[in-house]
């Protein structure tokens, strides 16, 4: 059995004359937390969209735990253990917190929701419509929805966007702790470098739709090309 939980081979996607992804290869080992960084327009969200099945009209192939899932719908990928969150909060505003987590659990063989609610501190909000809870709680609910049923692979698109520094680091700690215990493989797109460096095992850097570099946090931080293209001298 392959040791890669999620693998994208020669992934390309074009929007008219613009190449958002240009033959990008990426492979994340089982249990690893991989950061995906790069400047705006680098192709990070597009890569997540291709891997998760949200994108259409792309080239290459996607493997999930060794199985080619390139032609599968997002729902079929979810049932095989791939989950994702979105750049903007993506919840069910009219449903209560508990109701939507329960609905999410039905899709993955009656998974337990009590634990995920506890882990993300949502128990006290169980009966409240999601549209009425704070933005920070909505972000945690968004993550909880993705983690119901303990997916094997979790694709996160800027989960800390819009959160305060304290909230971001709190979320990062919870995430790190949870995915380690549940052995979830994570591909994390995030602009907050504190979050990325605090929880990621390795980092991939995209620039103008191409892979620029890949390595441990220390390697990426020290890479002159990455510093020039994205991190700058402050990193």
């Amino acid at each position: 059995m392959t040791e890669l939980a999620i693998e994208g081979v020669r992934l390309s996607r074009r929007f008219g004359g613009f190449t958002a992804l240009d033959a990008v290869d990426i492979g994340v080992k089982r249990g690893e937390i991989r950061g995906l960084i790069g400047p705006n327009g680098a192709g990070k969200s597009t890569l997540i969209d291709v891997l998760s099945g949200r994108a259409v009209n792309w080239d290459g192939s996607v493997r999930l735990n060794g199985e080619d899932v390139s032609r599968l719908t997002p729902q079929e990928r979810r049932k095989r253990g791939m989950a994702r969150s979105f750049q903007r909060t993506n919840i069910f505003p009219d449903l209560t917190v508990e109701q939507q987590l329960r609905i999410a659990s039905w899709a993955v063989e009656e998974a337990e929701i009590d634990e995920v609610m506890s882990e993300f501190g949502l128990v006290a909000l169980a009966g409240v419509p999601a549209g009425e809870i704070s933005y920070g709680d909505q972000r945690r609910l968004d993550l909880a929805l993705a983690l119901v049923g303990r997916p094997s692979v979790l694709l996160l698109d800027e989960p800390a966007a819009g959160l305060t520094m304290e909230e971001s680091l709190g979320l990062a700690r919870t995430l790190r702790d949870l995915v380690t215990r549940w052995n979830v493989t994570v591909l994390l797109v995030e602009h907050d470098m504190q979050v990325v460096f605090s929880i990621c095992d390795r980092i991939s850097v995209l620039h103008l739709g191409r892979s620029l570099s890949e390595g441990t946090c220390a390697e990426v931080r020290a890479n002159p090309t990455v510093i020039a293209a994205y991190l700058g001298t402050e990193a």
Binding site: R54, Q75, F86, F92, R102, S118, L171
Partner: protein, 334 residues
């Protein structure tokens, strides 16, 4: 983030079961109450108007249910109302089927048509959806209006009920007292069934799709079938209303398909509260009462309805039931 500080989860299953039991008990009480209606001493004309109000309530419930579960506004629900009435009337009038089979087909045809239509239409949102349903509804109207061989075109067609219907004297169904009890009973059963549906797994998944279709796909659901199923159920309810009206009047006409009927049903939903299963039916009864009171101003009726709609929209955007629920919750908090 600390899980220990968050308390414990309340057990939800017994609570849900209790709520279902309450719904069933209220439904049973309402069902019994319906049998009292003809004995209150209403004049025949009042009972007849009440029967019409109950047909309207069923159609409004259909429109409201579509909004509640799919979040879609339809101006074409009268198509299924008309389809039900026409299918029954034509099959009976032309002796193509016995009344029992005609009833079955009159309910099945609109339901199936709506399901198939729903597979496509449910993907369209907002104004485009409203316009699409309007176009579909009016297409049916035009066919019924122009195709004289079908059911006498714009003149409409009378038909005689067979002597027996499910073993009972069919002519009794045209007695206002009998029809009121029957329509009331059906309305109660429909409201109870729809309420239970909204609490069911399929109903909750449909509500999730309504709320956020993309997220529903990414938590693992097909987002095509549940909304189409809601369309089918809503059409089934509209078809029941259409068949009841056709049976009661012994007459079908193209107006049964007209968009204005869907529009009035939508207004009833808004007045009663479209976010509640019972809201549209309440709206229909309230409008019926106001219409009765304001009978002497009948020619200004559309203007009166418009005025009521403006007042309700501005003062109680969740409708009458929404306001009642809000007040009740406020009292609970005190």
């Amino acid at each position: 983030m600390n899980p220990t500080a968050q308390g414990t989860l309340a057990p939800s299953r017994p609570r849900t079961a209790n709520k279902a039991l309450v719904v069933l008990l209220i439904g049973a009480a309402a069902l019994v109450a319906g049998f009292v209606l003809p004995w209150i001493g209403f004049a025949k004309i009042t009972l007849s108007l009440l029967a019409q109000a109950l047909f309207d309530a069923l159609l409004a419930t259909s429109v409201g249910f579509l909004f509640l579960q799919n979040g879609r506004v339809s101006f074409g629900q009268a198509a299924f109302f008309g389809l039900g009435g026409y299918a029954f009337g034509i099959l009976v009038a032309r002796n193509l089927a016995g009344p029992e089979l005609a009833l079955l087909l009159a309910l099945a045809i609109p339901t199936l048509a709506a399901f198939l239509l729903g597979l496509v239409v449910a993907r369209v949102t907002g104004v485009a959806h409203a316009m699409l349903t309007l176009a579909v509804g009016q297409a049916f109207y035009e066919v019924a209006f122009r195709w004289r061989e079908l059911a006498m075109g714009d003149d409409g067609m009378s038909f005689t009920l067979p002597s027996k219907f499910f073993g009972f004297s069919a002519s009794r169904l045209q007695d206002p007292g009998v029809m009121v009890v029957l329509a009331w009973s059906i309305l109660v059963l429909v409201l109870v069934s729809l309420t239970l549906f909204t609490r069911s797994r399929t109903g909750q998944i449909a509500a999730a799709i309504r709320d956020n279709e993309e997220r529903a796909r990414f938590i693992g659901y097909s987002t095509t079938v549940p909304p189409a199923l809601v369309y089918a159920i809503a059409a089934f309810v509209a078809a029941i209303a259409g068949v009841l009206q056709a049976v009661y009047n012994g007459y079908i006409a193209p107006q049964m398909f007209h968009w204005s009927l869907s529009g009035f049903a939508l207004i009833m939903s808004i007045i009663g509260g479209a976010k509640f299963v019972i809201g549209p039916a309440v709206g229909a009864v309230v409008l019926f009462y106001i219409k009765d009171v304001a009978g002497q101003f009948a020619e200004y009726w559309p203007a009166i309805v418009g005025g009521i709609l403006v007042v309700v929209t501005l003062t109680m955007p969740q409708g009458i039931i929404g306001l009642a629920v809000k007040q009740w919750r406020r009292r609970q908090r005190r």
